[in-house]
């Protein structure tokens, strides 16, 4: 395979992809870095000169910074906890022998293919609307006062919507992992006299640990930048302003590009920390 001729052909064939991605990464990244050290207000005077690390300190010290971090982490933690726990249970359930397994799987997976704007809108209006939403009917049916979901329980609402979207993903991955579990291993542990709960704890869960890690890391990367769900539901109000939404507002709504860019650099650093862990796992997989 590896003759000199094929090597140079290979390099040539790889070039377009490498060049494109290199450009995609370097050009905007260096522009963001550049702007982050400037006072730059496109609608109010444009480029107002270098300001050093001013934007970085201002972004962190602004009153919306810590709430945005806390909103980001709350959503992240909530969604991860729900999708991983329910995902494991659901994967085990779907792995059991039953009639119509294929159809059930299709039902469970469906939410992942719904575009984020649609799921946010449908949940916000048709389910969580305090007057006409289906949940309001349900609450009234049991004699309770309907919840003002989007204003009084804004973060839990968003966590619920996003979890609904991502539960299929974690279920699917965990199901794939469970199916790869050697059934002889389970049978051996059964012969050894391990009861069901112990088998789950000592055999199934450790086997899933790698898949769970992958689920957590990949979801983290996507969840750190959820946008449409907030854009469509609360527009960042009622304490749902996440870090990425805050940056979005700084850049496009208040047109403070320097400040927003500094925030962007923070977001990039945050994402990279997660990414490093993910890449370790993926990289390990490349070796074997």
């Amino acid at each position: 395979m590896a003759t000199q001729h094929s090597r140079s052909a290979a390099r040539l064939m790889m070039a377009p992809a490498v060049i494109l991605l290199l450009g995609w990464m370097l050009v905007p990244l260096s522009m963001t870095l550049y702007f982050s050290f400037k006072k730059y207000l496109p609608m109010r005077g444009g480029d107002l000169g270098w300001v050093g690390f001013d934007n970085y300190t201002r972004f962190v010290t602004s009153s919306s910074f810590w709430p945005s971090i806390s909103a980001t982490l709350t959503i992240l933690g909530g969604v991860l906890a729900i999708t991983v726990v329910l995902g494991v249970l659901l994967a085990i359930l779907l792995d059991q022998p039953m009639w119509g397994q294929g159809v059930v799987r299709i039902l469970v997976i469906a939410p992942f293919f719904v575009m984020p704007t649609v799921s946010a809108l449908v949940w916000k209006n048709m389910f969580m609307d305090p007057n006409y939403g289906l949940l309001a009917y349900l609450w009234r049916f049991f004699g309770a006062e309907p919840v003002q979901w989007m204003s009084q329980a804004s973060l839990p609402s968003i966590i619920m919507i996003v979890s609904w979207q991502w539960l299929p993903f974690s279920t699917l991955i965990l199901l794939t992992a469970i199916q790869s579990l050697d059934s002889e291993q389970l049978e051996a542990s059964e012969m050894d006299g391990a009861p069901i709960l112990k088998r789950f704890w000592y055999i199934i869960l450790p086997h899933l640990s790698r898949a769970i890690t992958v689920v957590i890391l990949i979801q983290t990367i996507f969840l750190l930048s959820i946008f449409a769900e907030i854009f469509v539901t609360t527009g960042g109000a009622f304490g749902t302003k996440t870090l990425s939404y805050l940056i979005f507002q700084r850049v496009l709504e208040s047109q403070n590009v320097g400040l927003g860019s500094a925030g962007g650099v923070y977001a990039i650093i945050l994402a990279n920390i997660v990414a490093i862990f993910l890449m370790r796992i993926v990289g390990k997989n490349l070796d074997n």
Partner: protein, 276 residues
Amino acid sequence: MARAVSNRRRAINTALAWAVGLLIFFPILWTILTSFKTEGQAIADPPVFLFFDWTLENYAIVQERSNYMRFLMNSIIIAGGSTLLGIIVGVPAAWSMAFVPSRRTKDILMWMLSTKMLPAVGVLYPIYLLFIQLGLLDSRLGLVIVLMLINLPIIIWMLYTYFKEIPGEILEAARMDGASLGKEILYILTPMAIPGIASTILLNIILAWNEAFWTLNLTAAKAGPLTAFIASYSSPEGLFYAKLSAASTMAIAPILILGWFSQKQLVRGLTFGAVK
């Protein structure tokens, strides 16, 4: 090694799994049902489930009022175009990494993956600015390019893992049998790789179709795809459940069906082969 399970246990599993499955699917089902109701029935108290006067008028109104077809066309062009472009760039790259690996191949793959992790919001303004400069704002071409770039790492990774499964010995055998590089690709590689390429295309169309950061921020009236079409219903004056449902159903139906076909590839593509 599936073991025989008593019918009783199987029945319990079935009932439980179907109940959970239907619960998860319910919001989608409810949306589809509501799209066939009149606005009055859509907010009826108590809610009506199946026994209402089925009507198609919402679909007609939505199409008429918001020009659904134009958004649909934009979605098709943007999702299809970016995927096609990605495949054209990705196939040769994945081919060479899978079949002519060098010591740097792994690093290049990892680096490509790392570009996927760049948070979009961090580079929003530069892209916005570049788009204005290049006249790409609110153009289909612009979105085709951006979505191609953000999905290119996934395309290359997926193709790479598929190509990797084609044994190198088969290509060597073809070479020993006298096939030139062109004939090797035409007669041996392509037929063997088609299933993999097809799944890659499928998954990427889904991802591009549902992408909702760049499509919302870089388009306005002209090039907006279905994500933008639906977002336009978020304004309070647009709040009519039956019409919202009809619009939503139209936006998700094509991709839901594609998605069901490609669930296996989803795992592979989105985990970059880390879970098999």
